[in-house]
Symmetry: C2
Subunit: 510 residues, 2 copies
């Protein structure tokens, strides 16, 4: 009981089963949770369960992906009408691609603003996980802030899940500020990763709280494979590039605040900084993975700001057992501040994100398989790539035993345009395409990033297109042929590709 | 002589012919000029002339497009190696598409930052037009600020063109601030369109000035066709939409600061505000066209901030004869501030830009004809669309006697992704795609924006793709077929398109 310091809430405590019945068919729910961290672990899963026996279909807005099987069960049981702004669950993904669930793939930094702009997502019930409740009835979140402040502001009713599995030492790591609605938007005065601008709790209208439940389930752990040869090579290319930037005086040894996407590649890249020349690093990111804590432990990282902490079980055990050691070095913010265009451009973020594929002109696909099927979503990659100092996109050059080349003539879906991409990197190498015309970009990308098995084939495409002219040479009838061939024949490889030694290649010294 | 108030410059006055010889082969030039306004009218044209008789090839960075035939002559005479970040000249465009000139199509707000980030564009000579020179030797620009402060900061040498054709009453309308290089970037404290944060001149290192020339040539006038039925219909759809936003309490009658792209459509849309319910409007844009002054005259517009004034001859005669009437109501800023992500997101700009084409999922092509040939460039549209409150894109539904549909299955080049586009409008109607999943967007766009002649054909494509599944249904082998057919057969129209009355249509109530 001591986690709830606001007496009027005590008679609102009830079971998750009962609380879930406060949610109605067609409701729009705004739930806490960002990359599995700090999500609803009892009430929302209970909504999925209800759908097994009754007609209940809801719209779910979250911070980002939810943990455990919540998204899967909601989808499987037919409880989801619409989902946004992110997901990363295989079952839900299947339902989205089968047209059973509508999904809106949004820049993670923009959902809170959307709620202020349009009425169609007025939140009926916000379900927010808390580590504790203040004496004024305000919510102290757990391992993520996400969109929770925007949801509670916008909601009719609020359900709070007090999760006692998290140590109370989490109290104090949050920095919550709600930005005013237009036309009264104020300066966001974050000038460093560690600038505090708000409160360590989410201020809410306590009258909206309709139920409080207790849970004791920890976050579902992140599962991250160890760096392999490919991700290590990618990491090395990026470190070498940054090293050169420092060597030539364009950046200092503490670089600029780092952002890294989620997953194996981004984690491996960040881990690479542990044994680098760089020091006094900072992060201004959306998710903190294991690598962040490695960097803290190695003394390389001074401070990390994000919207969530998503770590493996091993890392979780380590950090929450000694959280006081990390507490002064990190901060969790609402995602419309961690991902704010204003702050990202001011701080000059170095954004490192993964691509599904990119093309010879530097357009990046982060979301769609073969142009049609949603994978996870754009997440915050666009927030950082669009407005940061450097936008780096990484992926392996090939996969599926070489049947897929991740560098293609034309991406099958564009999430980041040629105008927003600075650096492309695969295990083969890195291409710095800043200040280059499309033709220059194509030759550099083919030379540096493409797997040798596809280099001739891609060069053939480029040369054929180049001969036809145009600022961005393409043969529209063949631009997506690698994808259609993969679909039809199971491989992008064209065995007959012949390299034409045209002047263009010599002229640009490929 | 009285326009130059700094005595040490007086012995640097020389002829444009002589000044042009201060420029060497392979030089990188940073020149003033933004959408024809405030460009170099004697020295840069002289460089083009030199190329007729000698080997001189330069890289030219500007604010945006240049006036008269400067870009055309530079291209035609083979004087251009590389050009950025914008152009709008038919001859230069041809050279770009023929691979005679390398062109880098950049967000207009990002060129200044690029100069701070990479060394490959160290400016050899900056050529800047001035209405006068201060007692300290600083430059007072004419009708645009553009990238001039970034160029003079970054340049080895500076050539100033003092243009006496502009009235001295221009003095005072500029607000110039140079942002610090990372990691020291400061808050940009613009909180309203009229916030002044800098000086009314460009502070320069006077030792860099190598030549001063006098010119008396006015800006080349904008030529804007009068609104026609299509642009009037587009304007009405937008005004009706904004009216509804006000009616339902999401915006006030003074809306939010407006941005409008250049050209006939954008100008017609803005003109439409003259006879509207809206009042006390403001603009935070990059270019001010005739419509801005119409809005001033009608009393609708309180203040306008931009980076340039580009008006017709008629408008020019009117405003420069009575400039004191307008002077307190407008401000010209460097384009990295007029187009800054930070300011655009804070002020909540309503951005209205034109598209070449858009697709059924809301992706917009602003730059490429048939995916390969550069038209003008992205300009500032991405700066505003990416970070504003509302991003509106407009174009006619069809052109060339109906042979081209400007709404296609898949855009042939993506400049603004589905994540960054809010409102699409043609003379047929408007689609508000905010918060919609791709399938919902497709049906709304087909219903509201597509020309009746193409509605069945586009619906057929969508239905066939939908049946195959996927979050963003596409048939990759046909996605660009409208473009290839246009190229081969001269029309996008497929006479055999048959509408299949599938359930999907009924389900979503098209």
């Amino acid at each position: 009981m001591e986690r709830i310091k606001y007496a009027p809430y005590l008679d609102k405590i009830q079971t998750p089963e009962k609380a879930a019945f406060l949610i109605n068919d067609k409701d729009i729910l705004g739930v806490s949770g960002f990359t599995k961290a700090g999500d609803s672990k009892s009430v929302l899963p209970m909504v999925a369960k209800r759908a097994l026996t009754e007609d209940i279909k809801v719209t779910v807005l979250s911070g980002a992906s939810l943990g455990y099987d919540t998204d899967a069960d909601l989808a499987k049981n037919g409880a989801l009408y619409k989902r946004m702004p992110f997901q990363a669950d295989p079952t839900l993904r299947k339902s989205i691609n089968n047209h059973e669930v509508l999904y809106v793939d949004q820049h993670l930094g923009q959902t809170a603003d959307m709620l202020q702009k349009i009425d169609s997502f007025k939140i009926d019930v916000a379900i927010i996980e808390a580590v504790a409740i203040t004496e004024d009835g305000y919510i102290i979140p757990t391992t993520s802030v996400g969109n929770s402040p925007a949801f509670t502001d916008n909601a009719d009713k609020i359900i709070i899940e007090v999760n006692t599995s998290f140590p109370e030492s989490l109290i104090g790591i949050h920095d919550v500020k709600t930005l005013k609605k237009q036309p009264n938007r104020e300066v966001i005065p974050v000038v460093n990763s560690d600038t505090r601008i708000g409160d360590p709790f989410i201020k809410i209208d306590t009258d909206k709280v309709v139920a409080i439940v207790y849970t004791q389930v920890p976050d579902s752990p992140a599962v991250i494979s160890a760096p392999d040869d490919k991700t290590k090579a990618i990491s090395k290319h990026i470190l070498d590039f940054l090293d050169k930037e420092v060597e030539e005086g364009r950046l200092t040894e503490s670089l600029l605040p780092l952002q890294a996407g989620i997953g194996k590649t981004a984690n491996a890249i960040l881990s690479g900084f542990t044994n680098s020349r760089f020091k006094n690093l900072t992060m201004y990111s959306e998710v903190l993975q294991d690598s962040t804590f490695e960097l803290f432990d190695s003394g390389k990282l001074l401070f990390a700001s994000a919207s969530s902490i998503t770590v493996t079980e091993e890392c979780s055990n380590k950090i929450f057992a000694n959280f006081e050691d990390y507490k002064e070095k990190l901060l969790l913010r609402p995602q419309n501040i961690s991902n704010a265009a204003e702050v990202i451009s001011r701080l000059g973020i170095i954004g490192i994100n993964t691509a599904i594929e990119f093309d010879i002109y530097g357009n990046v696909n982060s979301t769609h398989i073969l142009g049609t099927n949603m994978m996870n979503g754009i997440g915050g990659s666009g927030d950082f790539a669009r407005n940061g100092y450097l936008s780096i996109f990484a992926c392996p050059s090939i996969s599926k035993e070489g049947k897929i080349s991740h560098i293609v003539p034309m991406v099958s879906h564009t999430d980041h345009t040629e105008h927003d991409v600075d650096i492309l990197v695969t295990e083969q190498g890195l291409a710095d395409i800043r200040g280059l015309a499309p033709i220059e970009r194509a030759l550099l990308i083919i030379k540096n990033c493409v797997h040798p098995d596809y280099r001739t084939q891609l060069l053939s495409y480029f040369e054929e297109a180049y001969a036809l002219g145009g600022h961005t040479p393409h043969i529209l009838s063949k631009a997506l042929s690698w994808h259609t061939q993969l679909k039809m024949e199971g491989t992008m490889k064209i065995e007959t590709a012949v390299k034409n030694e045209k002047n263009i290649v010599m002229a640009y010294e490929l």
